[in-house]
Symmetry: C2
Subunit: 149 residues, 2 copies
DNA sequence: GTCGATGCAAAAAATTTGCAAGTAA
DNA sequence: TTACTTGCAAATTTTTTGCATCGAC
């Protein structure tokens, strides 16, 4: 509970973008949630506090935040994209177990450092070979959760 | 060029499903392509040879094949799902580089054995801890390809 | 004051569903 | 013959776009 401006202040001006109420609200919602929110989840949350904010703005803002690298976008195969804050006080690097039965997503952080270490090396090799600039990675394990198997 | 029935014959009866012309055609298309085909790609290819086959059947068949484990489904973030044959004479295990700029997908097979070896170990640990039965995994590196950076 | 940002309504795109008719086993 | 499959059309769902207005810097 230290107060002060959120860590993302100042990130916008540098890119020539503006800090607005909808952007604050969307970042705030993302930073408070531990889940993988869909655009509609975010809309509902934000719209409750600021009824003026529309779904279109949510989509446009998320696209911007992903481009800026502040937010990660995931597709787990259920037809809607999910979004997570890329960094910040409450975020921790993790990967996902995806249930093909019910769509449940389990985050795991165990062993992620080990995974990341290997992927970093491999990424460098691929980066060079394919002249491709890598800025993030995703690992998904697919299968069935305890309820679905 | 050995002829004989395709390797997937017999996979259906065991599950109580039937082998039909549309299913043959869809599997055949998938087995001939090296790419990550969308449902519409598959529809166009199959529909050319068998104009009677509709897009709905393609979607329903793909869902079935994914459930059977014969086909993998991927979402690279461009709003349409992609499908690849899971196994077969022409398939090789690979992972993906995904360009955030133009959506281009680069397959790589280098170092995949190394990745898979590690992930297998990690998968076992997670499997136990989360009571989750893992049957496949995906690794995506995200970034910008040579044309987009 | 300027130019980026927003809201609303409409459009577009991808995927799913209802139901009668077709067909593999 | 029986029950799984299919095709068509219609419906749903998610995401994008046009355009006039608003507001951050």
């Amino acid at each position: 509970m230290v107060g002060g401006p959120p860590w993302w202040h100042g990130k916008f001006a540098g890119y020539g973008y503006r800090m607005t109420v909808p952007r604050q609200a969307i970042l705030s919602t993302l930073s408070k949630s531990k889940k993988h929110l869909s655009a509609e989840d975010i809309y509902l949350s934000v719209h409750k506090a600021y009824p003026g904010i529309g779904l279109t703005t949510v989509y446009r803002t998320l696209e911007l935040l992903v481009r800026m690298g502040l937010v990660f976008k995931f597709d787990f195969g259920d037809g809607r994209s999910r979004y997570e804050l890329a960094e910040g006080p409450n975020t921790n690097h993790h990967h996902h177990l995806v249930c093909r039965g019910c769509g449940r997503i389990i985050d795991y952080s165990e062993l992620v450092d080990e995974e990341t270490k290997i992927l970093k090396q491999i990424g460098q090799t691929l980066s060079k070979k394919y002249d491709f600039s890598i800025d993030s990675h995703q690992i998904h394990f697919l299968g069935l959760c305890n309820k679905c198997k």
